[in-house]
Structures are given as C-alpha cells and as structure tokens.
C-alpha cells in the first residue's frame, strides 16, 4: 500500500475503511428506497413493498413503482456505478485530475450517433437511442485511442487527453452542424443532452446491465495496475507491469462503462469527474479503495439528485443532469477549499 497522508497501522486503517464503506452502502440503500417512494404521487414504504412483490396492472401504486420508478432507479444505480468507476479509471490512466470519462470521445461519439439516429433513422424513444449511443461511443473511443497510440512511445497520458479533447471538439462541431439544419433533431436532443433518468423502461436496464457489469468487474480489478501507473511509467515498468496491456484494458473498461451510462441516461457530466476526487479525499491514494468508494459514491449522488429533482419542481421534475451539477458543484467546491492542494 503506498504511503498515506496520516500514517496509521494498516489494520486500523483497513477496519476504518471497511466501516466507512458499510456506512456508504447503507446510505446508498436508503437513497434507492427513497427513489421508489418519492415522486408526484408519494407512496409509503408498505405500498412500495407490496407493489414490488404483488404486481397487478389494475393497481395504481403497482404501475407507478414497477413501470416507472423501479426502472429509473435501476438506471440511476447502474449509470452511477459506471460513471464513478469510469471516471476513476480515466483519471488514473491519463494521470490527469481534470480527465473526465467523456474525454475518450465517449460522450461526443454517443451524441453524434444519437443525433444521426434521430435525424436519419427517425428514432424517438429512450430505448431506441441506446444502441446508437453505444456504437457511437465505441467508435469514437477507438478513434481517440488509435490516434493517441501512433508515434513511438504509445498512448501517453498527455496524448490521450489531447486526442480525446480534439476528437470530442470535432464531433461536437458535427453535432451542432446537424442540429442547426434539423429543428426536430434539436428538439429531441436538447432533452437527451441534459441527462435524465425519467422515461426509461426495463428495456433500457436490460440493454446496459451486462456491459456495465463486465466493465465494473474489469475496472475494480485494475486497482493495483493504476497504483503502479500513478508512480510513473518507469517505476510501473520496473515493478513488472505491462503498461501497454494495462492501458488497453483500462480503455476497454471505460468504453463499456461510460458508453453504457451515456446510452442509458444521456451525457451526464460532472459525476465521473468529481466523484473520484471525493473518494480520494476520503481514502487516500490507493486506487483499489478509490475504485470501490467511487462505485458507491457515484450512484448515491446520482439517485439522490434524481429524487431531489422530483421534490423541488413538484409536481413537475428537474432532469437529473441539472440537479447533479447544482447539488454536486457546491459540495465539490467546499471539498476543494477544505483541504489544501490537490494532487494525483
């Protein structure tokens, strides 16, 4: 384990971290239950419980919980886990604290594919966007990664970050060009681009569950490798790591995770960027713990923000992408101010 800020005996540290993790998991569970209860039509826990186990199409509570709130809660959970892990892996891979999971071109590729889906193929539903978004995300990240890998020393962090920013900018330009000429696409995309969990059904959950599960397992297994990379490439190589392999595996995990999350919920900015910073504040520099805590913090933040979005604009809703920024940003700024400098 690398040196920590406060040198505690490792047994004590581990016990504290495990306790903290249990606390965070309880918070996540509470938020998930709240998400099933709260909405334009608030339901007590007993009704939710009954509706989950005794579904009947005639019962209004049952319809609300099973057809509307359960899918959006699950999408929030999955997308949150995916964004938290993808953000951590991206920042570790590029050794850049400003890196965001969308930087690999994922969000821009997904947006362009969705726009084309709307403008050319006439797609209109959230479930219909998923395959387009996923393919677009994958193609864009392959392009970014290939460009960054050209040249003698391979995909270095700076080249990866810059190539990602450049490809995102180019794709973003194309998206705007399409939107300016196609009013109907603009009308649909402005709602997709905010990032929202509302209106997702179980089809969306089924489409993204497997890629997110696979991506999450791969990402969690990368902790030791990211610890090595954090020490610098030469040290990592001296420790016996195969840097090229680690980079490719990490990139695959990011595409699976961030591509699925974006496909399911739209390009939700900010969660993947700040959650790793928050986790790093809590657990120190060990990526094995940062990954685990990010995977719990992010869905808690996302689902909690979705619940808040349903309460503040009652009886309407605020999209989750807006609430995450308005709630998350002040928290983040407070965190940045509280402890001195930030480093990776």
């Amino acid at each position: 384990m690398p040196a920590q800020r406060a040198p505690l005996p490792s047994g004590v540290r581990r016990r504290r971290l495990v306790l903290g993790l249990v606390g965070c998991l309880l918070a996540l569970a509470a938020v998930l239950v709240l998400s099933l209860m709260v909405g334009a039509n608030a339901l007590p826990p007993s009704d939710v419980w009954h509706a989950l186990w005794h579904y009947s199409p005639d019962d209004q509570a049952s319809l609300i919980v099973v057809n509307s709130r359960l899918p959006r809660t699950l999408v929030g959970l999955l997308a949150g886990v995916a964004l938290g892990l993808a953000g951590t892996v991206m920042q570790g891979l590029t050794r850049n604290p400003l890196a965001d999971p969308g930087l690999l071109g994922v969000n821009a590729g997904a947006s362009l594919a969705v726009v084309l889906g709307i403008a050319v193929f006439g797609v209109t539903s959230a479930a219909g966007y998923v395959p387009f978004a996923f393919v677009g995300a994958a193609l864009a990240s392959v392009a970014v990664y290939s460009v960054a890998s050209l040249g003698r020393e391979g995909a270095t962090p700076v080249k990866l970050a810059l190539a990602g920013a450049a490809v995102s900018a180019a794709l973003g330009s194309l998206v705007t060009a399409v939107l300016l000429t196609d009013a109907q696409a603009l009308d649909q995309l402005r709602f997709w681009e905010v990032g929202a969990l509302a209106g997702r059904d179980m089809d969306v959950v089924r489409q993204v569950a497997v890629p997110i599960a696979v991506g999450a397992v791969v990402a969690l297994a990368l902790g030791r490798a990211l610890n090595g990379l954090a020490l610098g490439e030469d040290v990592a190589r001296a420790l016996g790591q195969r840097i090229g392999l680690v980079r490719v595996v990490a990139a695959v995990a990011i595409v699976l995770l961030c591509g699925s999350a974006t496909a399911a919920a739209g390009p939700i900015a900010f969660v993947g960027l700040i959650v790793p910073h928050a986790a790093r504040r809590v657990v120190g520099t060990d990526y094995r713990w940062i990954l685990v805590f990010s995977a719990v913090f992010a869905p808690t933040l996302l689902v909690a923000c979705d619940v808040i979005g349903r309460v503040v604009a009652y009886p309407g809703e605020l999209q989750v992408g807006i609430v995450t920024a308005v709630v998350g940003a002040p928290l983040f700024i407070a965190l940045v101010r509280r402890r001195g400098g930030v480093s990776l």
């Binding site: 400003l98 905010v194 995450t324 940003a329 700024i333």
Partner: protein, 340 residues
C-alpha cells in the same frame, strides 16, 4: 554553458521563424477573406479601397461589412488562444483552458439567459455577457482564494462553477421554445455573423490593453512552469505572477466571448499547436495568438462560403478545422516533452 546558449539561440530563432511564417499566412488568409464574398470584389478593388481610393460601393462592402467581421475574427482568435495558453501554462495542464475553468461556461449561461429570458441582442447582449463573465470570474477567484491562489484550486473551483453554469444552460434550453433555443444554439456555438464596428471597437480597446499585458508575462510564465520553488529561487514573485496571469487570462476570454460567443476549442488547441510548432516546452504566446487568429479567420471563411447559401456559426467549423491538425501534430511528434 555554451551549449545551453546555443540551444537557446536555436530555440529563439525557430520561434521567430514560426511567428513570421504564421504572420504571413495570417495576412494571406485575411486578404483571401476580403476578396471572397457575395459582392465579388477583385483583389485590386480591395487593395484600392484599403488605401482610400475606392468608390462608395466598395467602401461600404469593405469597411462596413467585411473588415469589422475579419478584424473581430483576428482579435477573438488571438485573445482566446492567448487565454488558453496562459491557463495551460499557469496550471501546467494541457487540458486547462477557459472552457474548462468555467469562464466560457459562465459566459454561455449569461448569453442564454440574455437571449431566451430577457430577449437581448447586439451590443446590449455583449455587455450583459461581459458583466456575467466577470462576475463569475470574481466568484471563482474568491472561492479559490485561501491565503493565496493555487492554480489547481482555481481550476477545480472553476470546474464546479462550470458545471452549475452548464446546468443553467441546459435548463433554459429545455424550458424555452424551439425557436428561442435555436437562436441560443447559434450564439452558444460562437458566431461572427453579428460582428459590428461598435462591438469591434470595444473588443479592440480591450485587446489593446490585454494582449501586450499577456505577452509581457511570457518570461514569468516560463519560470512558473518550472514549479513554485524553482520559480521563487529564480526570483519570480510566484503568487503575484500567478494571480496576474490568471486575471489576464480571464479578461482575455471574457472580451472574446462577449464579442463572438463561446467558440469552443480555439483556446484549448492553439496553445498546444503553437508549442509543437515552436518545439519548445515553454509557452509560445506570440505563436499561440497568431495560430488563434489564423484558425478563426480560416474557419470563418469556411463557415460563410463552404456551403453556398448557408451561413454556419464559426464555432461549428473551428472544431472541424482545428481538431484534425492538432491530431496530426500529436501523431507526428514523438520526442518526450513535445508529444507529451
């Protein structure tokens, strides 16, 4: 010692060469830009008009239509590029640019509120955006101030503010009518269609103060890039130098965005392109400004004339023109410290 001096001389010679080539290209691009256009003026007509020998028609076309737009493009490009180069240098991070630290995003939020909720346009809109951006920058600055200004804290606080600002933009866009959100989208992309001599005058005034101020900081920035301790040892007053650099960067971005809207990517890519052209680890401010101006002039020509009948906002084209060039440079450079 002599080898150090030889390297330094070679580096300076290269940056002068690069600057000269870029300046020549910029002049050529400007000339081409003046000769294009629906009025169909010949290069001779344009030249005659510029030296004061034109007739009423060519005077109108050149001085009232083409030139304000062209000069706005040059100044906006240069200001954005300088701002980006300064931020990347202060934060020592190639991803840092006014787009990321919340300046552009705050401007976008101010612009969208101005267009959709208040129904502003023209010079009033520019003033509103300028005021909004400066307010946001002051907020970021105050929030990031904690017995001194750390570049990193500034950026991270900026990211937080940027997130709130983009949430405001998204919210207003989902709440507005489709026509309003189309107008807002054009402005958000960054466009020179609304360039006028009045806006140009404000921009030129700001640039006349800020550009020399920025260029004068080249030495201090180069030392700051070595790290705080080394810079302090070399005699730089680290805190003051950094605060001045950040303020200059914010102001440059603010006047550019007020004039033409938040054109993305110029600030991010020009500093990086300039560094790779000059082949030095140090911030190449003059080259950055020239690259920015050149990129925006070329992009605006393409935006106006590439697709006949459609006047795209210039921000659509900057990404398409700038990104491939930056990518090509990235794949070509393979010495550590250049390609990264």
């Amino acid at each position: 010692m002599s080898r150090v001096r030889a390297t330094r001389v070679a580096r300076r010679a290269r940056s002068v060469r690069v600057a000269v080539v870029l300046a020549v290209l910029l002049v050529l691009a400007c000339a081409t830009s003046l000769c294009l256009g629906d009025a169909g003026l010949s290069p001779a007509d344009v030249a005659r008009t510029l030296v004061g020998q034109g007739d009423a028609l060519t005077d109108f076309v050149v001085f009232d239509l083409s030139l304000p737009r062209l000069l706005t493009a040059v100044l906006v490009g240069a200001c954005l590029a300088l701002s980006g180069a300064i931020f990347q240098s202060v934060v020592r991070n190639p991803l840092a640019s006014p787009d990321i630290v919340g300046i552009t995003a705050s401007a976008s939020a101010a612009g969208v509120i101005g267009i959709v909720l208040l129904g502003l346009s023209g010079l009033v809109l520019s003033g509103f955006v300028l005021a909004g951006t400066v307010c946001a920058a002051v907020v970021i600055y105050l929030l990031a101030w904690r017995s001194g200004l750390s570049g990193y804290r500034f950026v991270l606080v900026g990211i937080g503010v940027a997130a709130i600002a983009s949430a405001v933009v998204s919210y207003v866009l989902t709440r507005s009518s489709l026509t309003d959100s189309r107008d807002a989208l054009v402005w958000l992309t960054g466009s020179l269609n609304g360039a006028t001599s009045e806006k140009l005058a404000v921009l030129a005034l700001g640039a006349a103060v800020l550009v020399p101020l920025a260029l004068a900081q080249a030495g201090a920035l180069e030392q700051l890039e070595l790290g705080d301790d080394t810079a302090a040892a070399l005699g730089t007053r680290v805190e003051r130098g950094r605060a001045l650099a950040v303020l200059t960067g914010v102001a440059l971005a603010a006047i550019a965005v007020a004039a033409a809207g938040p054109i993305v990517f110029v600030a991010l890519c020009c500093g990086q392109i300039a560094r790779r052209l000059v082949r030095s680890g140090a911030p190449a401010l003059v080259a950055s400004a020239l690259v920015g101006a050149l990129l925006l002039v070329v992009a605006d020509d393409l935006a106006q004339y590439a697709v006949p009948g459609t006047d795209y906002p210039v921000g659509v084209v900057t990404g398409i023109v700038g990104a491939p060039y930056l990518l090509w440079l990235l794949t070509r450079t393979n010495r550590a410290g250049q390609g990264g």
